[in-house]
Structure formats: structure tokens, C-alpha cells
Amino acid sequence: MRGLAQSYREALARLRVQALLDPGSFSEWVGPTQRVTSPHLAALEAPVSFDDGVIVGQGLLHAHPVIMIAQEGQFNGGAVGEVHGAKIRGALLRAVRDKPGAVLLCIDSGGVRLHEANAGLIAISEIMRALFAVQEAGIPVIALIGGACGAFGGMGIVARLCDVIIISEEGRIGLSGPEVIETVKGVEEFDSRDRALVWRITGGKIRRTLGEATLLVDDDIAAFRAAAGEMVGARSLFLKKRGLNPTTSSLQTLQAAQQQLGARAELDAEIRDGQVLWSRMGLGDQVSLMSPEQFNRRLEALES
């Protein structure tokens, strides 16, 4: 019997890092004492953070060396600025050199930090390029998504570039966030205050159903740790079972993804959100009440 769950969503990034990795194994790069803060925020007289809202470093996951990148969603919505982006890029390039078992990317971000405009946009593209280099080197990049900010904007794209996405029901993935869509297209298009609707369109369960996320887990740091642990190491059975061995990816993987997207386009236009899709799939109308375990089991039964 294990103790009370430690919510992944509620935890700060520093706590997530400590609890995801083997106890005491994490060592940070460009940590808060080095005071590498955002020059853009300072120029705007906006508060800065000692770590610019992201923690990068190395540690062990079930004794496998991994590189850890964790965004702090509470600092400017986890948004990517120049320093923040450079830290992520640097950690990814370090992975190419050091060849760890995996890179864990804890995304909790609304996307580009608007205060930093072009510098933030460039940072996102640098992160993408570095991520491809990591994959090219045969190292899996595992995204963990379960924070309050989800993975939106540029970080939504980065999430979908990862080899694996572990997500909680509370986690979300999207490009434009609900508020942005409502502002641009009107409340008739998307009511961002309708929480249930937002989650039926961007939440963990629908992303898993559509094959965009790999695995749904409880909102529990230990559950994220266990799931990530199964995927670490070149001989990970989990990755092989799903044809996700990054060393054999590239063209095959891309073609499979293209096929999947083609099938998505064929879906009935009346399917506007998860509820309709789930009832068409025969999962009934109680999907929102299913535990991740029940949900994964039902979905795997349908998929096999």
C-alpha cells in the first residue's frame, strides 16, 4: 500500500524534478545561484526569476542516466523566453554529446513569452532543431504533460515532436489555447469558460484517444515516474512494442504519422468533441468518469 498521491498538477517544477528522479540524484545546470535571468523582462521592469522558469540538469531514473528539463508553469505561464529557451536547447544538445538513456521534458507552458517576442519564437525553433538532433542520435525524448498550463503554442508543437507523451487527464495539448481561439473567432466557436468542453477538446483523454498522447496516467508524480521509467533505456520493451524505437524511426515513423493524420481527416465532420467520438467508438458516455486504468484498458481493447 503506498501513501497518498502527490499531485503532479499542484506541484512546483522543483518538486516534480525531485520526485520524478531517483532520490538525491539530480544535479542542476545553470541553477538559480548563477542568476542567469531574462534581460528582456528586466528591460520591461517586469519581475525576473533566478532560473528563468526552467530547471535543467541530469539525474537518474531507475538507475538510468537521464537529462531532465522541467518548466515552471507558475512563472509567466511557463512561457519560453530567450534564456529559458537557451537552457532547454543547451540541455538537449548536451544529450547528443552525453548519450543518456532518455531526455525527460516536463512541459508546462502556454508557448512563447510574449514579452520577448522574436527572441522567444527563435528559441522555440532552436528547441525543435535540437530535439531532432537528440532523436537523430537515437535518444528518446519523453514529454510529461500534467501541469496547469498544459502544452500550448510552440511548446504544443514541441510536445508532438517527442517520441512519447505521458499525460494525465488534467494535462492538455493544443496549438492556440482556448482563450486565444475565443478572442479571435468568437465565443460561438469556442467557449473558453466551458471547462468540460475545453478538456473534451484539449485534455489528456481525448489526446490519448486520437493517438497524439502515448499513455494516460493518474495525476500523481509517482505514476508519471513509473510510466517514464518503463520507457527509459535503449532496450525499453514499451518503445519496441509500439514501434517507437527512435533508432529505427525517421521515414517509417513519419509515414505512419501521415497515415494517421489522413485517417483523422476522414472522420465525420459532426464529431466536434470527445463526447461524440467516444460514443461512436462504443465507449459510452461515461468516459469522463473512467479512471486512467479503466480508460487505458478499454482503449487498448478497441485498438487491438
Binding site: G31, T33, P47, V48, S49, F50, Q74, F75
Partner: protein, 103 residues
């Protein structure tokens, strides 16, 4: 932004383990506190950057109270604040100090 530098007399607890630690996060109504080893065992140094203007006297009161409550000699505290209330500031400072106790 408003900045505040405060250097207060304080007693030292030699049993403390003055490793650097960061507490809290810079978000609305919250702050981060970075505690590090200082230069003088008889003083405690505070560097505050705050988004809220005009509260220097309140900051001085809260920090002086904190330095009187704990043996913080030989430590330095750097703070990035985004409009935290005095109670939250005291709480984060206490958390940062407590982290120096034990292993």
C-alpha cells in the same frame, strides 16, 4: 521595479548547513527566495526586487522581524517579488530558513 538592500545584525547558528536553496516562485502574489551563504557571520543581508512600489517600510518591518526570529547570521537572502503580502513573504523566508536545518 523597486529594489531594496538591507543589512541587519544577526546571530549565527553554526549547526546550520548553509547550502543554496530556492523557495517559492515568481507569480502574482507570490515570490521566490534564494538563500545563500553570506560574508559576515554577524550580519544578514537581504536583496529585494519587487514589482510593488512604495512598500519599503513594510519590507523593512517584515525582514527585521524575520532576522530577529531566526539565527540568520552569515546568510544572504535574495528575493524576487511579484506583489506578495507580508504574510506570504514571512512564510517563504521561514521555509527557506528551515531548509538549512537537517541533513
Amino acid at each position: 521595479m523597486e529594489t531594496l538592500h538591507l543589512d541587519l545584525p544577526a546571530i549565527q547558528d553554526a549547526s546550520l548547513n548553509p547550502r543554496a536553496a530556492l523557495y517559492g516562485v515568481v507569480s502574482s502574489g507570490n515570490l521566490e527566495v534564494l538563500v545563500e551563504r553570506g560574508h559576515d557571520a554577524t550580519r544578514c543581508v537581504f536583496e529585494v526586487q519587487t514589482a510593488a512600489h512604495g512598500f519599503v517600510e513594510v519590507w523593512k518591518a517584515v525582514l527585521t522581524d524575520f532576522a530577529a526570529r531566526h539565527p540568520v547570521g552569515g546568510l544572504s537572502f535574495a528575493i524576487h517579488d511579484a506583489g506578495a503580502t507580508p504574510a506570504v513573504v514571512s512564510l517563504r523566508l521561514d521555509q527557506a530558513f528551515q531548509s538549512l536545518r537537517g541533513a
